[in-house]
């Protein structure tokens, strides 16, 4: 039997069982049962994706499931990448969730063992498996909406906790549905131009569609899918919604759901529309570079740990979009090998990002679970109480900072390689934009190191700054197991990235960049292990560290002794004297003052008796999202004004409302009669 079909069938069965278990099982075993079944779903999805990457193709048509259209499924190597990534993240997050949801109900987050969350969890996981497998417009839209609604409900599941959760829910609901409408219009337009709604049919009919229609469809699809992928300026929901969801759900959203925006773009732009014009992909390249720099800049000045991670997602998705854009540009200019390489770099970065982002979000969830706060300024000193979590988070941070030994290093290296070789492409715009993209990637890489040193250093090292952080404890074993799975993936990508070379070659070919180019690129990817030799570099460095340590032990005169810290003779140091996350990021914030535009407020209250004696000083500082401020506020204001103006249409008379309907029916019939 086709292994892909088997994997999908097992995933569906596991999902259905999980939903049934969530509804019927008693509270004692509910969380564990749902967690295990969803983990099975994830593993099956990963297996199906892996089988697709190994060359198996699967198509199916279930005509009765959806009215009017039927369900079309097709899994090729490109879907396989996103299927396997989604499945792997579901697996790790579900295992983690077994511990997280069972122990929730204290420390600032409300009970996650309620039926609602447990039902939504497998539904969300299943939708992540369904979207890459969809092969017709209606199937894709239904799966997309299922994903949006289930994730929305998960985001607001802890709505009693604070007003921020509700506000985040509203933002997310509005933006994801606006994205859905945009995708709907774009895809339906495409389907009507191609006179068929199955992807295979559209791909066959695409060359005959006029460039105006294709361009219009691409812009709409870019807006819709890009918004899901957190592309600036349509990213405003990401840093609001991801922190407020329960941590396993944040991991799923950040590491699996946003990838599907990239999937949609690649599928529609490169595969269905066949590549299109160069300006499409230059636009993607530009927006990707902008997202990368803006995202990490906001991350480096963020105090909330999960907000930092959410902005880092924006950055990484920006890098992936740079790769996709470069692939499109190279393909259009007739350089298939470079195009294949760039797309492969983007896909590899998708995989590595999923690995380290999952690990980081799960780690942040453990911190939240142990201390009840996400604010880096209030944490610190967690290493002594939670050593394993600190070690795992450090591995994830290494990956996010794209340093050697981290999961993100091979993929960023490959991305840079494909861009550096891209100067051979003729055209002034390319020559100008490629260095800009390389500069943006470089700046984002540097800022990422700063941001994650901040997150790790001020959050986990040093001394605890609040009692909450002092009383932290190691999370339960299920949560550690989930993090361990993600860490395993990170280590794998860091040490032996060449293993996925041939798989990526197939995926790139499935995206429409096939032929000799893809084969050559696949060859180069397989040789990634020897070209970059990360195993050698990391192994050598570790060996040297061990050697030096032994040497130092031999040379030493006696055991290590404790010693006090240098306090300038002024007395014992308190945790208040440490550098907090805000102070760590202050030089960066000053350098990028014009871009970030922080708002600060200083309030000095003096005694009534004398204006020179200060009683109290209150200082507050916030770094808002400037894009949101400049772009969204005017748009929302305009919409509000339009809404207020159109209140006159609704004056309360039932007859008037019915009259509107009647009049439109009559008008339509008249038009119909006249047009015959």
């Amino acid at each position: 039997m086709n292994p892909v079909a088997l994997g999908l069938a097992v995933a569906s069965a596991a999902g259905a069982l999980a939903v049934a278990a969530a509804l019927l099982a008693p509270a004692r075993v509910r969380v564990a049962l749902v967690g295990v079944l969803t983990a099975v779903l994830g593993a099956a999805g990963m297996a199906a994706g892996g089988a697709a990457l190994a060359g198996h193709i699967f198509t199916a048509h279930v005509s009765q499931l959806l009215p009017l259209a039927g369900v079309y499924l097709a899994v090729d190597a490109l879907s396989g990448v996103f299927l396997s990534v989604g499945g792997a993240v579901v697996l790790a997050a579900s295992v983690y969730g077994i511990g997280y949801f069972r122990h929730s109900g204290h420390n600032g987050h409300s009970g996650g063992n309620g039926r609602a969350i447990q039902v939504l969890w497998p539904v969300f996981a299943f939708s992540l498996v369904l979207v890459p497998a969809a092969a017709s417009v209606s199937t894709l839209l239904v799966a997309w909406e299922l994903m949006a609604v289930s994730s929305l409900l998960l985001v607001v599941s802890e709505h009693r906790r604070s007003a921020q959760v509700r506000s985040a829910g509203v933002w997310y609901a509005v933006m994801t549905h606006l994205g859905l409408v945009t995708i709907l219009i774009g895809l339906v337009w495409l389907a009507s131009a191609a006179r068929t709604e199955t992807f295979a049919g559209i791909a066959a009919a695409a060359p005959g569609i006029s460039p105006v229609v294709r361009g219009g469809v691409f812009v709409l699809v870019l807006a819709g899918f890009g918004s899901k992928a957190g592309m600036v300026p349509l990213h405003a929901w990401l840093p609001r919604a991801h922190p407020e969801a329960p941590s396993p759900a944040s991991a799923l959203m950040s590491a699996a759901m946003v990838n599907l925006g990239v999937y949609g773009l690649v599928r529609v732009g490169l595969d269905l529309l066949g590549g299109g014009s160069r300006w499409w992909w230059l636009l993607v390249l530009l927006l990707g570079s902008l997202s990368a720099v803006y995202g990490i800049l906001q991350a480096s000045v963020a105090n909330d740990l999960k907000r930092l991670l959410a902005y880092s997602t924006v950055e990484n998705l920006g890098l992936i979009l740079v790769g996709v854009g470069a692939a499109g540009v190279f393909k259009d200019s007739g350089f298939p090998v470079l195009a294949a390489l760039a797309l492969a770099a983007a896909l590899l970065h998708t995989m590595t990002h999923a690995a380290f982002k999952t690990l980081l979000f799960l780690g942040a969830g453990s911190v939240l679970h142990a201390t009840g706060t996400r604010d880096l300024d209030d944490l610190g000193g967690l290493r002594a109480r939670m050593p394993v979590t600190t070690g795992l988070f450090a591995l994830g941070a290494l990956g996010a900072a794209a340093l050697p030994g981290g999961a993100g290093f091979p993929s960023e290296w490959l991305l840079l390689q494909s861009l550096i070789h891209g100067l051979v492409v003729p055209g002034v715009t390319v020559v100008v934009l490629l260095p800009v993209a390389v500069g943006a990637i470089a700046l984002s890489a540097g800022l990422a190191v700063a941001a994650f040193v901040k997150a790790l250093g001020t959050g986990f090292l040093a001394k605890s700054r609040t009692p909450a952080a002092e009383h932290a404890h190691e999370p339960p074993p299920a949560m550690l197991a989930g993090m361990g799975l993600a860490a395993l993936a990170c280590a794998g990508f860091a040490l032996v990235p060449g293993l996925v070379g041939p798989l990526l070659g197939r995926a790139v070919a499935a995206a429409g960049l096939g032929g000799a180019g893809a084969d050559q690129a696949a060859g180069r990817l397989s040789a990634l292990g020897s070209t970059l030799s990360p195993l050698l570099v990391v192994g050598g460095a570790l060996l040297l560290v061990v050697l030096l340590r032994v040497l130092m032990r031999l040379v030493a005169r006696g055991p290590r002794r404790a010693a006090p810290l240098w306090d300038c003779g002024a007395g014992p140091l308190t945790p208040r004297m440490e550098y907090t996350a805000t102070s760590f990021a202050e030089p960066l914030q000053r350098v990028f003052d014009n871009v970030l535009a922080p708002e600060s407020d200083l309030d000095v209250t003096a005694y009534t008796e004398s204006a020179y004696l200060v009683e109290r000083v209150a200082y507050s500082r916030a770094v808002p999202d400037r894009v949101e401020h400049r772009l969204y506020t005017p748009v929302i204001g305009a919409v509000r004004r339009a809404g207020t103006a159109s209140r006159a249409l609704a004056n309360g008379s039932v007859h008037r409302y019915l009259g509107y309907g009647f009049a439109s029916v009559i008008v339509l019939l008249l038009v119909l009669a006249a047009a015959q």
Binding site: H655, I666, A673
Partner: protein, 224 residues
């Protein structure tokens, strides 16, 4: 559209008769002002609809149309008019005394709507010159007349009548054009109708309790 085979002459005459009764019932509802009488006319219309379904089932040899005809007849000729009659108060407050459009004007408008329906349905008649195709324009006319009743009557119960008229017209079109709708859809629509009638009954009772009459324009006060 599924095939509309040419029925035997007798069957086509029966169909024409049923369609005629259907349309006449709709016009009469527009003419009369007493809601109680309107419910009786609704029952007549429901029976005509069921008859159309039976005739179509006979000559198209679709046995399930019989079952649908029975269900439709039961619902629209018996159950819904009975429910509506119970809501009608014997007091004069339920006579439509001042409709938005007076009777003469509404009859003229109805005439214009019927003409429009015939004009729009011409291509279908040209496609297949059967009695069923001709009856399509009747269905469309009843839909438009139902909308007219909905828009121009103040009394809440009269609006329910208009709504039921609308739905009868849609069902007629479905039978004539496509030999009925899938059973599932028909069940769903019927359930909806039941719910609408029940809800509006409750609303009317509440309105009477608060305002003393069931005039929908009183609801405008709640706007601000």
């Amino acid at each position: 559209m599924t095939t509309m085979s040419t029925p035997a002459n007798g069957a086509s005459e029966l169909l024409d008769l049923a369609a005629g009764v259907f349309l006449l019932a709709a016009v009469a509802i527009l003419w009369l002002r007493d809601v109680a009488a309107q419910t009786r006319l609704l029952a007549v219309q429901g029976s005509a609809l069921a008859a159309m379904a039976v005739v179509l089932g006979a000559e198209q040899a679709h046995p399930e149309l019989y079952a649908v005809a029975a269900g439709v007849g039961l619902l629209r000729a018996v159950v819904l008019p009975a429910l509506l009659r119970r809501a009608v108060n014997a007091r004069a407050a339920d006579r439509e005394t001042r409709p938005l459009l007076n009777v003469g004007a509404s009859l003229l408008t109805a005439a214009a709507l019927v003409l429009l329906a015939y004009a729009v349905a011409q291509p279908l008649v040209r496609l297949e010159a059967t009695a069923a195709a001709r009856a399509l324009s009747v269905g469309l006319s009843v839909v438009l007349i139902g909308l007219l009743v909905l828009v121009t009557r103040r009394n809440a119960l009269a609006q329910v009548v208009g709504f039921l008229l609308l739905d009868n017209g849609i069902t007629a079109i479905a039978f004539l054009a496509a030999a009925g709708v899938p059973l599932l859809v028909e069940l769903g629509v019927s359930f909806d109708l039941l719910l609408v009638v029940l809800v509006l009954r409750v609303l009317t009772t509440r309105m009477r309790a608060v305002f003393g009459s069931a005039d929908l324009d009183d609801l405008r006060e709640l706007r601000d």
